[in-house]
Each structure stands twice: as structure tokens, then as C-alpha cells.
């Protein structure tokens, strides 16, 4: 018998269940793209059959970090840049949990960049949503790792001399097995991509364009957006690494020129997740480790049984 009966519950799920009954007023500004991420999750989660209490939403710091204040699941609002290592461990500790990590572009591509690279490399079975507004919002508009070259801010008064990071390309090189970009201005696509990401077995990375109307751009600047799967101007195979790489490169280049490309960029259904790889070498127990602590019949090995090598 499981100690975690919210997991795998088979019942009708209403999207309102994900709205906290005693809802704290969101601190996001009117017109903020973050509302788009929240909405897409509330739609996608019931669609893929997940109940609020079988989901753990782990966030970093920034406006994006407040996501789990407004999404009623189990939540862990961690520290700046560290949502991924916390999320990863929770999934290893209880492989039956649905784990979603989220943070901003500064959080994920800047201060947490090392964790992003390694979590993608290891292909942990989880979803990672990066709220990419091309700016540091909560600290009032400083240049971020995704801000375009020449971006002027209080901390870069002469305009940034740095070219922005390439989040999609970096994700691909690092080893993520599902990579997409969507935008708050495109709610239908966003919901579909989030649902696919949750269902994907492996590390699913969604770069989510979330306009910051207060410090950067308003929603209009992400319109028109082009879905690379639907547009006739683009033709590439999302399962082909080379073609995906080229498409990503172009997408990252043209964003700074005002062309907003979105869609699925890379999908590898064959690559085993880290959980599968670790189990294959015998280093992950069959039963989720967390269950064992609630199992009164579980047998626990003692150090006493290891002493022979010391006598």
C-alpha cells in the first residue's frame, strides 16, 4: 500500500483545483507574461490527468518564483538559481511524483546555469519552464543573460557589450530530450507544449517568452509570433539533431530583430531518462525510496553486517 495516495488517483480533475481557494493576490503587474505560464499549467495539468497533490512545483527566485504561490500544488520556492537540484532530488527520492521546476532567465541561464547544463546532460525526468522576459524584472529592470546586445539599463548605462545566451542551443548541446519555445501571447500553443513537456519522459525544457510590460516590452512586441511547425516558411525535423540545431540558431538570432519564432525544436523519445539509466546500473531502487520510510515491514541493513571487513 502506498503512503502517497494522491499519486495516480484516477478521477475527474477540474482546473479550478489548481487555484488556491484563499488566493493570495498575484504580485505580478497587469499585462505580465507570467499569467500566461500559470494559465497554461492550470489547463495542461488536468488534461494530462495530474491532481494538485501529486505535483511538486519547484521554483527559483524572482517574479517567476512566485508561480507556486498561485498554483495550488505541493510547492517548494527555493533560492536563486537552485530550483533544479532541489527538484531533481525530489524526483529521485520519489520517482512517482510529477516534478515541475520553474524560474526566470537570470535564475536558470545566469546564476543557475551550471545546474541547467548538468540537469539537461543527465536528462532527469522532469519539466523545466524558464520564464524568459529578457530582463531582471523584480530587481527593477537590469540587463539579464538573454537581454539583446546593446540593451541599456541602470547597470549597463552604455548598452550591454555582451551577446545574449542561446538557451535553446545550449539546452540541445547539454542533452535535453525535449526542447520548445512558446510565448504568453500564444496561450493555445503554450498549453499544448506544457502538456507535452509534462508527459515527456526525460528532461523537457520550455523557454517561455513572458513579456515584462513594466521594464522591458509589452505583449505587442511578441506579436506576430510564428509557430515553426505551422508556418510554411520553416521545414525541419524535430527528431533530427542537426536540423534542430540550425532552427534553434536562427530562432535565437531573429528574436533580437523582432521576429518571434516559437514551437517544438527538438524531441528525442528514445533517450532513456536519468532515472532509467540509474536504475539500469543498479543504483536506483525499484520501489520509490520515499515509500520505504512509511513501510513498517521494510528491512533495513545495519552497519553491524559490514564489520567483517574491519576485523
Amino acid at each position: 500500500m502506498s503512503a502517497f495516495n494522491a499519486i495516480g488517483e484516477d478521477r475527474e480533475i477540474d482546473r479550478d483545483e489548481f487555484t488556491p481557494g484563499v488566493e493570495p493576490q498575484p504580485t505580478w503587474c497587469p499585462g505580465c507574461g507570467d499569467f500566461g505560464v500559470l494559465k497554461s499549467l492550470k489547463q495542461a495539468l488536468p488534461e494530462v490527468g495530474k491532481t494538485p497533490e501529486e505535483v511538486l512545483t519547484v521554483t527559483g527566485i524572482g517574479c517567476s518564483g512566485k508561480l507556486n504561490s498561485y498554483l495550488d500544488t505541493y510547492g517548494f520556492h527555493t533560492i536563486h538559481g537552485r530550483s533544479l537540484p532541489v527538484a531533481r532530488a525530489a524526483k529521485l527520492a520519489n520517482t512517482d511524483l510529477e516534478v515541475i521546476a520553474a524560474g526566470g532567465d537570470g535564475d536558470g541561464y545566469g546564476i543557475g546555469g551550471n545546474h541547467f547544463v548538468h540537469t539537461a546532460r543527465e536528462n532527469h525526468d522532469m519539466t523545466y519552464i524558464v520564464f524568459n522576459n529578457e530582463i531582471f524584472g523584480l530587481t527593477k529592470g537590469q540587463t539579464s543573460p538573454t537581454s539583446p546586445k546593446g540593451h541599456k539599463s541602470k547597470t549597463q548605462p552604455s548598452g550591454s557589450a555582451k551577446t545574449p545566451i542561446r538557451p535553446l542551443s545550449q539546452s540541445l548541446t547539454s542533452g535535453a530530450s525535449y526542447i520548445a519555445r512558446t510565448a504568453a501571447v500564444n496561450p493555445n500553443q503554450a498549453k499544448e507544449i506544457i502538456a507535452e513537456a509534462i508527459e515527456h519522459d526525460g528532461f523537457a525544457h520550455v523557454d517561455f517568452l513572458t513579456q515584462c510590460p513594466t521594464w522591458n516590452k509589452d505583449a505587442r512586441q511578441y506579436v506576430p509570433y510564428i509557430d515553426v511547425q505551422e508556418s510554411d516558411d520553416y521545414d525541419f525535423d524535430v527528431t533530427d539533431r542537426q536540423e534542430a540545431a540550425e532552427m534553434m540558431h536562427e530562432t535565437e538570432d531573429v528574436l533580437n530583430e523582432g521576429t518571434v519564432l516559437t514551437g517544438r525544436y527538438y524531441v528525442d523519445e528514445d533517450r532513456p531518462s536519468y532515472q532509467e539509466e540509474k536504475a539500469a546500473v543498479g543504483e536506483l531502487p525499484d520501489q520509490p525510496l520515499a515509500e520505504r520510510y512509511f513501510d513498517e515491514d521494510a528491512e533495513w541493513e545495519r552497519s553491524y553486517d559490514l564489520l567483517e571487513r574491519h576485523t
Partner: protein, 634 residues
Amino acid sequence: MSSDELIWRIAGGSGDGIDSTSQNFAKALMRSGLDVFTHRHYPSRIRGGHTYVEIRAADREVQSRGDGYNFLLSLGDSFARNPQEEAYYGNEEIKPLSENLDDLREGGIIVYDEGLISDEDVEEIDLEARAEENDWHVFPMDLRGLAREHGREVMRNTAGVGVTAALLDMDLEHIEDLMSDAMGGDVLESNLEILHEAYETTREEYEFEHDLRAPEGTHDTEQALLSGSNAIAYGAIDAGCRFISGYPMTPWTDVFTILSQNFPDMGGISEQVEDEIAAAALAVGASHAGVKAMSGSSGGGFALMSEPLGLAEMTETPVVLIEAMRAGPSTGMPTKPEQADLEHVLYTSQGDSQRVVFAPGNIEEAYEQTRLAFDIAWDYQIPAIIIYDQKLSGENTNVDVEFFDRDVSPDLGSTLTEDELREAAHDNSGKFKRFNYADAENGVAPRSIPGQKGGRYLATGNEHSPVGHISEDPDNRVAQMDRRLEKLESIREELDEERESTQTYFGDETAEYGIITWGSSQGAVEEAVSRLNENGHSVKGLSVSDMMPFPEAEVTEFLESVDEALVVEMNATAQFRGLLQKELGRFGEKLTSLLKYNGNPFEPAEIVEGYEVNLADEDREPTAQVRIEPAAGD
């Protein structure tokens, strides 16, 4: 005829098999019925560089290295860098001989490999003259040649052990048994041949004029030889810990390695990750999801853990971290012990510290206090830290096997089951009041685990309301802060009233002078106190393990009972004395520090001398490489 104690030092280059040879020899001495204690000295290099292991063996309890030593087996450094003229590092080949002479006692024995160390080099260090002056007995042996003849050159350490056994008049039985356990086939055969050949040759070639023989003893119960790192790892296993995350760093790597090797067979999980920030964050994440988890590092890596440590404090996530100190600052001396991270471990991370810190003083304490750390962490939902050092990490001593015959305690402490959650307080929307200060007992608000029905809440590093929503309301802030701090008071109460004290006392209870220490300096202080009492002084000792929450009552009682006290620790700025004065300022004038920070642990004689010079006011300067920090106002 047997001697009171043997202190055997095997010296060579890193890679010469010093570690494994000494481990086996220590075991052989233990099996012969002696108590043993080992001390390891090595450089931060894979190959070469002067390294040694010292084994102290006697027919009585040994808790410390001795003063100097009485038997040197010098293999020479077979990985030595080629000495250039006036090379910075000098002639490394002979260092395992030349660097060890200062500590060798009068009448001691020297065996060296003349197959590697040349006669000219030996002449250059005036060995003959020094031997005469100190009444040393020198036995040059061609260990390399002997090994080559019967096996391979790397087996020269076995030849050295054979010579040792012959000179000490030891039975070869235990040594042979251990070799048979560790190897087989041709390798075993060659080694046995070399062992016997070396043994016989020594007896045939030399007349023995030395007095030193292996001590004789017996054990009533079966003994196991373990290091401090073994003890910490085994304490974690028996506390039900089955998750460890880490990044390699000397000397913490030992615990990480032991658990990584054992966890897969125990259904546990070990994760080697990208950095120490991730390592500590993983332990927090795993604990949040319902398993007993730990991480750890040494000074520099622990610095990176500051933020996840603070997160664990604020979210009240139980976790055990271990910190294996080495000489700092920065990279410092990676393989040398020091007790200079105390303040770092007590206070690192922003905000008021809300953690538990234990500093075990020996191998049994390392096991007990690791278990205690897990118990406290999970009962009170608080991070608990074990602070130890390179010395305790690597030293081996014998422990009664039955000491480990205990049950595992996988209990998750103040964690609720789904049944219990149904009865717990929720807000109107059904969110669990995980940080409910209204009903908290001892400051503890029981927690749920993700996936449980009826337990959802938000854990956050921000200050938060009972269900976990971010809150900056002043009343809530004070209530939450006070509740979290109340846990520390409750822990102190539990430690004082319900558990056996983790502090260790020794010496004459009525004494008017005291020596106080903490952590791994305990053994040397214990021996110094007993020696001072034998020398006619009236002294008692206290070794403190609880660093936070501080054992105010116990230490007060001790300090009130003495006129003056010497505070012994391995650092340059008297950090533990600083803690004593912070907690118990009124005793400041009674405290004099004895500090050592040259990379080597205290020898008992240094403490004896420190006491005689400073507290007994004997009119002489200390000769050892230690420093005195006078009492406040002196």
C-alpha cells in the same frame, strides 16, 4: 620480553603503498590483542611526496598519537621528482628517511631500503653520527632487491613488514592471515615468500642489541579497526539515511565514498553532482520528498552550501551536513588537519543561525553523534551538522564489534502520515497548515510529504504564513521566528535532560585547574591530563561536543569549579575560546589558549608543556610549535 608501547612509522612516497600496508599491519597488531591508534600524514599529490602513517599499539586504551615514535620503516620515495641542482623540493628520494629523524625517540629503530636510498645520500644526512648520539639502531636492508628477486618491486613494503616483524619478535601468523584475505594466486605466493625471506634474513644477518619488542596483550571481545569516516558513514546507515549527494573534496571524500559504495546494495541513492551548492540543495530536495538525506564537504565546498543550509533552516527541512575541516584559509593545506572552520560552520548563511552542530571527539562519538544528528534533525526539522577534521577522518582505532550491534532508526520524526493529516489543521481551501505556530509543541510544527493526500503546502525561503504563503506581516514574522528559535531551546533541554551527555570528562574531579578542548583534539588532551596527574599536578579535562545549542549548564559547572583553564584547539585565532566567551563571558579571565596550526595535530607532550608553562607557571619557554593566547585582561 615486551615493551610498553610500539609506535611504528612507515614512510614513503604517495603511491608506495603506505596506506594499505599500514592498515594491514595495524590490523595484525589489533588481532594480536593490542589496542591501536593510527595517524596519517600525507601531501596533496597522487604520486610522490613524503607521506607516513604512524601506528601506536599498546596493551591499554590508546586515544591519541604519542609523543614522537620509536620505530621507523623508511621505504624512500620511489616516485620522487628528479632533483635539479638546488631544487626547491630538494632530494625527495631520501625524505621518508631524513624528514622523520627529528621525532624518533632515543633508542629507536630505523629500517630503510638501501635498494632505493643510496649510501652517498645517507652519508650526506649524517645518519651515523645522529644514530650514535641518540642510540638509534639502524638496519639498512635491500628491500627493493628482495622484492624484485621473489616477486615485483612494488612488494618492497611487504619486505619491510617482514623485517619489522623480525626485529620486534612478532609472530607472522596474523600478517599472513591478512595477506591471504586480501590477495590470492601468484601475488599472494610472492608476497608470502618475500615476507618470510625478509624475516629470516634479518634474523640471520643482524645481532639484536635493541630493547624494543612488540607489546603483548589480549582482547576479551572481538575488535574492529575503523576510521572516523567509517564511523560517521556507519552512523548514517544506522540512522536510516539512504540518500547522499556530494562533490569530491579532501578529506570529506572518505565518507562520501564509503556511502556511495554501500548505498546501492541497501536500496539507497548516492549522487555525485556538479558542485556543492547542488549537493546540499539535492539533500534538501530529497528530504523534502520524504527520505533521510545528507550531504557534506570540507571548508571550501561547505562555503558553497551556505545558501541551501539557510534554505533548510527557513523551510524547516531536516538535513544532516558534515564538514571535514582542513587547514585554511582558501585551499590552505588540503591534507592537513585544523579546527579553524568552527565559526564558519556556526554562522555561515544570512540571518540568525538556526542549526545544530556537533563536534565528535573520537571514533565512537563520531558514530553516536551522527545518529544523534539525524534524530534531532528529523524530530525538530532543523539542519544538523557534524564538524570534524582531517585527523579524525583518517585515524583508525579499534572498537568493540558489539558496539555496533544496534537497530536502525529510519523513523522520520515529526512527519505526518495521511491518516494523521486528516486530523491536522487546514485553511479554508484545504491547504495544510504546515507552519502552524498555534499548536506547535517545542516549536515543532509537523510536516507532510509531497504526494500525500491532504498535505499540500508551500515551502519557501521567504518568511511565510502557516500554510507557507509569503508574508511580511510583523506579527506573523515574530511568531514564526520565535517558534523556530524555540526548537533550539527544546533541543538543549532534551540533550540536558533526556540523553546521555555528549561532553567528555577526564582527570581528577576535585582539581583546581582545567583543560578544555573540542572535537578531535580530545584524545591528546585526555592523555595529557592523565600524564599531568601522574606527574603530581591536579588537573581535569573537558571535551565539548555540542557547539550549538551550547551546553551552557555543563560548561558553567566545569568553569566554576576551576581557578583557571587552558583552552586547547588547532587554530590560530582561538575560535572555540571565542565561543566560550560569547556564551559565558564572565569566565573570560580564567581562559588561556593553547593553539597549534602548523598542519600537525597536538601531541600530548605539547599540551603537558603548555600547561606547565602557562598554568603551573614554570619558568621556561615552550619548545613546541604552539602559541599561547593569554586570558582577557592579562
